[in-house]
C-alpha cells in the first residue's frame, strides 16, 4: 500500500509535512543518541559497581554534550599517507546510513493533520525493508574505507576484519528478515507492523518461533560492530582499529554513528519482531500511546544491547567466522525453509522441522566424532588441543602419563 500522504497528489502542505517529519526525526534521533551514550555508560557502570558519569549536568546527562564539544575543538589530523578524499568521505559514509536507516521505522500510529493522513515515520517506501538492508551494507563501506584510507597498518587490519565480518553476518541478517517478510507478505515496514497488531501473540517473535529473532539479535550486533563482535575496533589488539587515525569531529562522527546504529537496530528489531508501536492504548491522547510503546520497547532493546556488551568478552576471529558461517547461516536458512513450509501447509512445515532437527543432530554428531578423532588421533597429525596436552603432561610428569 503506498503512503496515504501522497494519495491526493503532492501539494505545498504535503511537502511541509514531509520536511517537518524529517527534521523532527533528525533532531529526535540526535538527542536520543546523546542520551544513548549516557545510558550505555550508566548501565554498564551499574553492572560494574561503578557510578559512571555524574559530573556534567544532573546525573551526568550532559556528559556526551561535553565530550562532543571537546572533540569539536580538538585538532583535526590528516595522516601523511592517508588517501585524502576517501579519508574525509568515510565518516560520512558511516553516519548518513545510520540516519537514513531510521527513516523507515514506524514510530507511532497514523494521525490526521490538516485533512492529510500522516504516518508517523519519515518515509514508507514499498520496498522498506530492502532499503534497510541496502543501507546497512553501505555502512560497511564507512568502516572499511576508513581503515583502508588511513594508510596505517592497524586500521587496515581493522577494516579487513570489519568487511569480512559484516558481509558474513549480513547473510544471516538478510535471511531472518526474509522470514519476517514471508510471514507479513510485505516489504513495507508499516505493513509488517500492522500485520502484528492487536495481540502480542501475533508478534513475529512468537509467530516465527524465537529462532529468527535470536539470530537477528546476534547478527545485528555483529553488523553494528558492537561487543562482543567489535573486532574491527579491538582496542586491546588493534589500538582502536579502523578509527585509530581519526581525531576531532571525524572521530565524533564515527562515535555518533556507532551509537545511532544501536538505537536504529533496536528500533528495527522492535519493528520486525515486537509489533513496533503496537500495545494497549486509552481513549485520550490516542496518538501518544503507540509512540510511548515504541519508545519503551526500544529502550528495553538498548538495555539488552548494553547488557550484552557488559557480559561477553570479545570473540576470537575464528570463533566469529564459525558462529556466522557454520551456525547462524545454516540455522536461519533452515528456519526460513520451515517457515515457508508452514505457510504452504502446516504438516509439511513440521515435517521439514523434524527433518531439520534430525539432520542437524546427525551433522553435529559427525563433526564431533571427526573432531575427537583428530584430537586423540595422536602425534602424527600433530594437531589438536588434547594431543598437545598429552604431550605437555608427558614432558612435565613422565610417571603420570604412563609412558
Amino acid at each position: 500500500m503506498p503512503d496515504p500522504l501522497f494519495a491526493h497528489g503532492v501539494g505545498l502542505a504535503v511537502i511541509v509535512i514531509v520536511i517537518v517529519k524529517a527534521v523532527v526525526a533528525f533532531a529526535a534521533l540526535l538527542v536520543a543518541t546523546m542520551l544513548m551514550v549516557w545510558f550505555e555508560r550508566k548501565v554498564i557502570s551499574d553492572m560494574q559497581d561503578r557510578i559512571g558519569p555524574n559530573r556534567a549536568g544532573p546525573f551526568g546527562l550532559l556528559q556526551s554534550l561535553a565530550d562532543g564539544t571537546k572533540l569539536f575543538f580538538k585538532e583535526d589530523l590528516l595522516p601523511d599517507r592517508a588517501d585524502r578524499f576517501v579519508f574525509r568521505l568515510a565518516p560520512l559514509l558511516a553516519v548518513v546510513p545510520a540516519f537514513l536507516m531510521f527513516a523507515i521505522v514506524p514510530v507511532g500510529g497514523v494521525v490526521t493533520i490538516a485533512h492529510h493522513v500522516v504516518e508517523l515515520q519519515v518515509a514508507d517506501p514499498p520496498m522498506g525493508i530492502l532499503f534497510l538492508l541496502a543501507l546497512s551494507s553501505v555502512a560497511v563501506y564507512g568502516t572499511m574505507l576508513a581503515g583502508w584510507s588511513s594508510g596505517s597498518k592497524y586500521p587496515l587490519l581493522g577494516s579487513i576484519r570489519a568487511s569480512a565480518q559484516m558481509i558474513s553476518y549480513e547473510a544471516a541478517l538478510g535471511l531472518t528478515v526474509v522470514t519476517v517478510v514471508l510471514e507479513s507478505h510485505s516489504l513495507s515496514t508499516r505493513a509488517i507492523v500492522e500485520s502484528q497488531a492487536h495481540h502480542f501473540w501475533q508478534w513475529n517473535v512468537l509467530r516465527l518461533g524465537i529462532v529468527p529473532f535470536v539470530v537477528f539479535l546476534i547478527a545485528s550486533t555483529a553488523e553494528m560492530n558492537r561487543p562482543p563482535f567489535d573486532l574491527a575496533e579491538g582496542e586491546s589488539e588493534l589500538g582502536g582499529g579502523f578509527n585509530t587515525e581519526y581525531s576531532s569531529l571525524r572521530f565524533a562522527l564515527f562515535y555518533l554513528a556507532e551509537f545511532m546504529n544501536t538505537i536504529t537496530m533496536s528500533a528495527v528489531a522492535v519493528t520486525l519482531f515486537f509489533g513496533g508501536p503496537d500495545g494497549p492504548g486509552f481513549h485520550f491522547l490516542t496518538w501518544l500511546w503507540p509512540i510511548a510503546w515504541f519508545v519503551g520497547k526500544t529502550v528495553v532493546f538498548c538495555y539488552i544491547q548494553v547488557w550484552i556488551r557488559a557480559s561477553l568478552p570479545r570473540m576470537r576471529y575464528d570463533q566469529l567466522m564459525d558462529l556466522g558461517w557454520k551456525r547462524l547461516i545454516p540455522l536461519s536458512l533452515g528456519w526460513l525453509l520451515v517457515v515457508a513450509g508452514v505457510i504452504v501447509s502446516v504438516a509439511w512445515g513440521f515435517a521439514l522441522l523434524g527433518a531439520g532437527v534430525v539432520g542437524a543432530g546427525l551433522l553435529y554428531q559427525a563433526v564431533r566424532v571427526g573432531r575427537r578423532r583428530r584430537d586423540t588421533g595422536a602425534v602424527v597429525t600433530g594437531g589438536g588441543r588434547a594431543a598437545g596436552m598429552t604431550r605437555l603432561v608427558a614432558t612435565l610428569d613422565p610417571e603420570k602419563s604412563g609412558s
Binding site: D46, M47, Q48, I51, W307, I308, S311, Y364
Partner: protein, 230 residues
C-alpha cells in the same frame, strides 16, 4: 562435551545483572575521603612546648639521617634575654624540600626532643619549586599548637587533630619494661599525651586519638568479617 556446553557462557549475563543491585565501590574522592590510617606519614610539623618554646635545638640529626637529603637545618645560639627554645641552641633555619621528601619518618625517629613529627596531611601541591620548600614559617605550629593551614593544602575538619604523628607504644628508648610509661615532654595544644596500647593491651584510644587499623579500614572489609563491604 555436551551439546549445550557452548551455552554456559550465558552465565555471564546472570553475573552482570546481579551486579546492578550491588553497592557501588566508587567514592566521590575529593568530596568524601576515607579515614586515614592512624600512622600515616604526611607533611611535617615543628612542635612547641606547652609554654610556647620551640622544641627544635638545631642539632641537625634529622638532616643527617634523611635518606632523601631534603632537610636543611642551621642552629644558632639562643638570645639569653629572649630564648626561642629552652637550652643553649635553637633551629635558626629549618627547611624541608617536599619535592624530595619520601615521608619515611626517619627524621622523627632521630629527633632527640620530639621537635619534628609528621601530620597525616598528604593532599597538598605547589605550582613552583620555591613553594615546595617549607620553611619554619610554614612548619612551626601556631600559638594553639595546631599545624598551619596553608592555602594549597587540603585540610578537612578534624584532620589537624592528633596531627603530631606522635604514637609510641613503648617508651622512647623502646625498652619493653617502660611500656605504657610516659617518657616524653608535653607539647603545645595537646599537653602530655598518654601512652598508646602496647603488648599488654593497656590503651586509651580516646586520649591518644588512636584508631585501630580495623576501624580505619572498615570500608574494605567484607560484612562477614565485621566490615561494611558485601
Amino acid at each position: 562435551m555436551g551439546m549445550f556446553d557452548d551455552l554456559r557462557f550465558f552465565g555471564g549475563f546472570k553475573v552482570t545483572l546481579k551486579q546492578v543491585l550491588e553497592p557501588r565501590v566508587t567514592r566521590q574522592y575529593p568530596k568524601e575521603k576515607q579515614p586515614k590510617p592512624p600512622r600515616a606519614h604526611g607533611r611535617h610539623v615543628l612542635n612547641r612546648y606547652e609554654d610556647g618554646m620551640e622544641k627544635c635545638i638545631g642539632c641537625e640529626l634529622c638532616a643527617a639521617v634523611c635518606p632523601a637529603d631534603c632537610i636543611y637545618v642551621r642552629g644558632a645560639d639562643n638570645d639569653p634575654d629572649a630564648p626561642t627554645s629552652p637550652g643553649e641552641r635553637f633551629g635558626f633555619v629549618y627547611e624541608i624540600n617536599y619535592l624530595r621528601c619520601i615521608h619515611c619518618d626517619l627524621c622523627v625517629e632521630a629527633c632527640p626532643t620530639e621537635a619534628i613529627t609528621e601530620s597525616k596531611l598528604f593532599e597538598f601541591s605547589f605550582t613552583s619549586r620555591a613553594d615546595a620548600i617549607y620553611t619554619k614559617n610554614e612548619l612551626v605550629v601556631d600559638d594553639d599548637g595546631m599545624p598551619k593551614h596553608l592555602p594549597w593544602e587540603d585540610w578537612r575538619d578534624g584532620e589537624d587533630q592528633h596531627s603530631s604523628g606522635w604514637m609510641r607504644a613503648t617508651a622512647a628508648n623502646g625498652a619493653a619494661q617502660y611500656e605504657g610509661e610516659v617518657q616524653w615532654s608535653g607539647e603545645l595544644g595537646y599537653g602530655v599525651r598518654p601512652a598508646e596500647a602496647g603488648q599488654s593491651g593497656r590503651r586509651d584510644d580516646e586520649a591518644t586519638g588512636n584508631i585501630s587499623v580495623r576501624t580505619a579500614s572498615r570500608n574494605k572489609i567484607p560484612i562477614r568479617l565485621g566490615g561494611r563491604v558485601r
